[in-house]
């Protein structure tokens, strides 16, 4: 059934279709609609789940950890400061290998206080061990939910789905809503082998001396590695079920491009419009959207980018002291594989609009720019 819904509600419907058993969350702008609708759906019986009210995001994730360890399919949503407050528990979910799914609405971090989008909140959790998938449309924010559970439950790692504040969260689009019965075929019920059980109590997350800590860490990295294949396969299976296919990266008109713009999130759609416009002018340009940041799609990214002459990375985030995060990642993927210039651009922080005009400016500049001068290219900063 198709319906016009806001991005946040698309998330809620994705959760409904995935037969989640426990939801625990704390409201935070601009995510609040997600859990608001979920609480209604639980209250009116459309979702057969337990909704645990808590006093903070730290407790929300702690509750999710407990519920997931007890063997329940568990969901939460948060944003920005809320995600940061969860940090300790985010690490816990990874170490305990719990397949929790979290939707984070990208919102800039204060101070200065802000409610508008940029990616610094989720990117500051880059190294925790959560799988991170950046969504581009309302449809995708919904479709990503059952895929995320399927991936998470297969490799025993949590998944963070990320969407832009307001540009997706509060914007209405047509979404083909998933039905629970259809999803059931795609996503089997969650029945973990090991779980908290009062009849057979074990101690979890207990102490491990130097002799085994490293092995447990090694296994997490192995799971991350396995996730590459699983994410691709699940994206394909989803397509076979629902006609919408998903992959680690999305290239656009890259085949003969001399310059490729690398983007993520909603900036990707805007960029494609600019590519079409420039192609009409005869400029050989393409775009590459990075959908999955963790595990980083090294092969896909380098396969596509090695065939072009120049790469421009558009970062809606800043890793103070070392450029934008996607820029770092792309550079590391191409290290030793090509000599082409890779130039990074920082734009759109704190919700500043990234319009087609802004992207055109970046593209024009990138055609002229030589690596590595200047080191950081700030787009639109009043200087």
């Amino acid at each position: 059934m198709k319906k016009v819904v806001m991005g946040n509600h698309a998330v809620s419907y994705g959760v409904r279709a995935s037969e989640v058993k426990v939801i625990s969350a704390y409201p935070v702008t601009p995510q609040t609609h997600i859990v608001e609708l979920l609480s209604e759906l639980v209250a009116n019986g459309e979702i057969d789940a337990k909704f645990i009210k808590v006093e903070s995001e730290h407790s929300a994730m702690a509750a999710c950890v407990g519920a997931s360890a007890a063997g329940s399919r568990t969901f939460t949503a948060t944003s920005s400061q809320g995600l940061l407050l969860m940090t300790e528990m985010l690490h816990w979910a990874v170490g305990a290998r719990l397949p929790i799914v979290l939707t984070n609405v990208n919102r800039a971090i204060g101070p200065p206080w802000s409610i508008w989008t940029d990616q610094n909140d989720s990117l500051s959790m880059r190294d925790v061990g959560w799988i991170q998938i950046y969504c581009e449309s309302n449809q995708e924010t919904q479709d990503a939910i059952p895929q995320a559970f399927k991936i998470a439950e297969e490799i025993n790692l949590p998944v963070m789905l990320v969407l832009d504040a307001f540009f997706l969260s509060h914007t209405y689009e047509i979404v083909d809503l998933l039905e629970t019965e259809q999803v059931r075929d795609f996503l089997p019920p969650y029945n973990p082998e090991i779980k908290l059980d009062t009849n057979d109590p074990h101690s979890f997350g207990n102490l491990s001396g130097p002799d085994y800590y490293m092995e447990l860490r090694y296994m997490i990295e192995e799971a991350m590695n396995d996730a590459r294949g699983v994410i691709k396969r699940v994206g394909k299976e989803f397509g076979e079920h629902f006609g919408r296919y998903y992959d680690m990266v999305v290239p656009y008109r890259c085949d003969d491009a001399d310059l490729i713009l690398v983007t993520s999130g909603t900036v990707a759609s805007t960029t494609r419009a600019v590519i079409d416009e420039m192609r009409d002018e005869g400029i050989k340009i393409g775009a590459l959207k990075i959908r999955v940041l963790r595990p980083f799609p090294f092969k896909e990214v380098s396969d596509i980018l090695c065939s072009t002459k120049k790469v421009a990375v558009l970062d809606r985030n800043i890793s103070f002291g070392n450029h934008g995060v996607f820029f770092q990642e792309v550079k590391s993927a191409l290290y030793g594989k090509t000599d082409i210039p890779i130039i990074g651009y920082i734009l759109g922080l704190g919700g500043r609009d990234v319009t087609p005009k802004v992207i055109r400016e970046v593209a024009d500049k990138a055609i002229k720019d030589k690596n590595p001068e200047p080191y950081i290219n700030w787009i639109g900063v009043k200087r």
Partner: protein, 559 residues
Amino acid sequence: MSKQIKFDSYREMPIRSMTLDNMLWNKTGSWRNVKPVYDNKVSPCILGCPAGENIQHYIQLVIDKKYKEAWETIIESNPMPAVTGRVCSHPCMGKCTRGDYDEAVNINAIERTLGDMGIDNPGWMRESEKTKKQKVAVIGSGPAGLSAAFYLARAGYSVTLYETEKALGGVLRWGIPEYRLPNCVLDGVIESILNSGPISVKTETVVGKEIKLKELEDNFDAIFIGIGLMESRKLGISNEDCEGVESGLEYLKRVNSGDNLDSSKKTVVIGGGNTAMDVARSALRKGSDVTVVYRRTQAEMPAIASEIEEAEKEGVNFRFLAAPKEIVAEGGKLSKVLFQEMELGEPDESGRRRPVPLEGKTFTMEVGRLFTAIGERADLDGFGPEVDTEWDLIKVNGEFGETNKKNIFAGGDIVTGAASVVEAVAAGRKAAEKIIRVFIGEADPPKQEETEFGIENINVDYFTKSNRTLNPRISVEEAKKGFEEILTGFDEQLLQKEVDRCFSCGVCNYCDNCWVYCPDTAIVRKDDRYEIDYDYCKGCLVCVEECPRSALSIEEEGK
């Protein structure tokens, strides 16, 4: 020692850290999946001593200057530390963990020092238990017989000790020379043993001849046979009975009883054991030029290594890979010996390489005096048909010396063949304990568990390297002059210096380390032990890691 969980590969591990077993027992919730437990082990030196002396324990007592208690601890398993402390080949030290770090603790010297303290303090010997009605006959007063008599008498059983010779002690008396074991020390030891309980002595009595074994059987509740090996083995070549050829044992006996012998210039001793060394060194002291001829090489010599070393230092010559083939006598008197040269062949059942004659290779030596020391054998006359024998030895079943006859026990060289003082002591004690158990109807104790303990169980960061403290001694020059004892025991300062080197392997010595290190103050110090409050212990095992001596073990939870 409980087993620690071991994973060889991450593949064997669960993906999350979790207890492998159920935690139902734990009411408080916990991180803990393993727990530390105080678990003293048996130190390797103790397993190394044939008599099983509790070495680790008496060393700790010496550290606390509890010398009497230390001596009493030894006496529990060996009534003659002053003897073994002088003549034992100390296999304990071969097992000492410290040997894999720097040098083994000088256990032998510590034992000797304590043994001498015991002789100087006759009051240390506790009174025997009240006299029981059973009587035991002990035949032979070597270390085996003395040990059996001691443990029986101490427990209150009347012992009658039969001995062929005038004086007690067996090989200790008439075999081992005074420069190794002075008679006054042996006298002190024997006196303390005889004072330990109801023992009556019948010397110059040959059991089997003057008194039949049967007679003893009728008059005693049990009999212990410790008659040792009395006869020298013969070379089995011509002219062996001519003047100038003598068994080494006979010679030692005469030396030990103070016979002043003429010393011929050229003496040859045949053999490579302790007897050969004692004969050679005694003859040397009497002024002879001595050569030991042995049919294998030095590596195969059964004598205690330090004895060979001392003999060499004193000037005893060695001729290896040769055996006497023919004795040439002139007018009934020894004049020359023809020797066959040998080489080493395949290993025999003892694991040593067998000597094989080198075809056609012989040499002759002018010899004034020839001593045979190629081994001793038993004189089983009067014992033979009564008790089962095998290979000219008494046959026993198991470790307590039980013969085919219910009330007859045997131990020492007569059972094992030529062995050692400490093995004879151990055999005497074990038989005595068994006899007592039979009297009171008690079951045998369970076998001691052999735990593996090595330098890897010692946290060596806590110890600094040091050399073994050696016994003070007189110079080789001085030693050669006569029969004065060569080695001396420790004074208190040296004693304390040496005991301080002991790791106290596997046994808590209250160093407080675990108590200091526990990050959760979960260890409680009691007067004589530590306790772990498991409601607070989070199983980090810092205590186990930091115990210098592995006195703590790890137990898996929930098992």
